[in-house]
Amino acid sequence: MRARFKRLLLISVFSLLALSAILGCAKPSAYKAPVATFRDASILVIQTTQTYLTQLNKVERDNYIYQHASAIQQIKLDEIQKQQIFSTDGINARLSALDQLSQYTSLLYQLSTSDAPDSLTNEATNLQTAVTGLETQINGLTGGDDSRFKSAAAGAFPILGEILSQIAQHKLEAALKDAIAKGAEPVNTLISAIESDATIAYERKRTAESNARVIAIDQYNREFVGGKDPDKLRAYADAISAEEDRWEAFGTAQPTAGLESMKAANTALVAFARTPRPNIHDIGSLADAMSSFASTALRLSTAVQALLNKNQGGM
């Protein structure tokens, strides 16, 4: 998959460079490759972020369950629910926000490079409706843990809505100008807020994974001190080995890298959109930024997938 992805990316970049060299400046159709790369990489980052945010609830839930089991205490369902960091609505809102940001940036880029920008107005209208719906959904979030995300969303979505409305009304130049002057920073602030949540999720998961290493060691050592059954010792040794593999893989699966890379790609796309007549260097810089984003997203996604496989479906 990685080789195919690289090959496609190289072909895209090569096509852009070749067209640019031949024609002096690239035809609009040649700009489609970077935006496709951006969307593909965004989808991978969104999936990775989803894994972590969903896992955060499981980590806290399992902590409660196993601590009570080891202390021989009653387990209560209402107490389990209190352990959840983010509600299902809160997680969905964050993922929808990332997806809509990715669609918005892609649209902006297409707007600046399309040979028929008017054809994008329908897309803008649909996205504007989705953004308005998401704003209402985010306003309805009541968890204390949602406040940082809500505040960042309140800064970004009204501006995005305004820009999308301008596109829908065919005020394309004004929309691009506003997107460049006002849009890039709030978009990155919103990604940063989601990045903070994903980082916390990762850190809590790290704490739980670290404990799992000790549990595996203890299991072996109890048998080592007690029964000394060679078959059991061998099985527990295998469990330690598997846990250490998981710990090693976990260290490479930090969600921050993907979202940081998404911010950089967003900035690069907006910077490109503001360039009136892009030259070969502008196209090269954009291709580099997209390539970097794509490889980070792919590396992260592969690492998270490896962790999921090691844990047979659950991290």
């Binding site: 960091i85 980082t199 916390i200 850190e203 790290r206 670290s210 404990n211 000790v214 060691i217 001190v225």
Partner: protein, 109 residues
């Protein structure tokens, strides 16, 4: 140092404690002390993760700076292969400092 950095630092100390715990037999008396510190720090990290607080206040900066110093001392103690008792005392100081920080920046967490 940001709030996130502090959460990461507590995680770093927890993983150091886990390496120490995993190097002792489960019934070792010193193991119980390490287990207790681990439970306390895990709880503090969770509370800090859920709390919404301002990490630009002087109270936070002072508390976080103290944690950084203690974290460095714990690492030095481990590098020097100090006695477990000495390292444990530093870990207890770290846990107390986290409690103080949490009370200062997020008393209801």
């Amino acid at each position: 140092m940001s709030g996130l950095d502090t959460i990461k630092m507590i995680g770093d100390v927890i993983t150091k404690i886990d390496v120490m715990r995993g190097s002792l037999l489960p019934n070792d008396p010193q193991r119980h002390d390490l287990d207790n510190q681990r439970i306390l720090l895990d709880d503090k990290q969770k509370r800090l993760s859920r709390a919404v607080f301002d990490d630009t206040t002087q109270a936070f900066k002072d508390g976080a700076a103290k944690l950084a110093v203690l974290n460095g001392q714990i690492q030095d103690s481990l590098n020097k292969l100090d006695s477990l008792l000495n390292t444990l005392q530093l870990i207890e100081s770290f846990t107390n400092a986290v409690t103080t920080l949490l009370s200062a920046v997020a008393p209801f967490a």
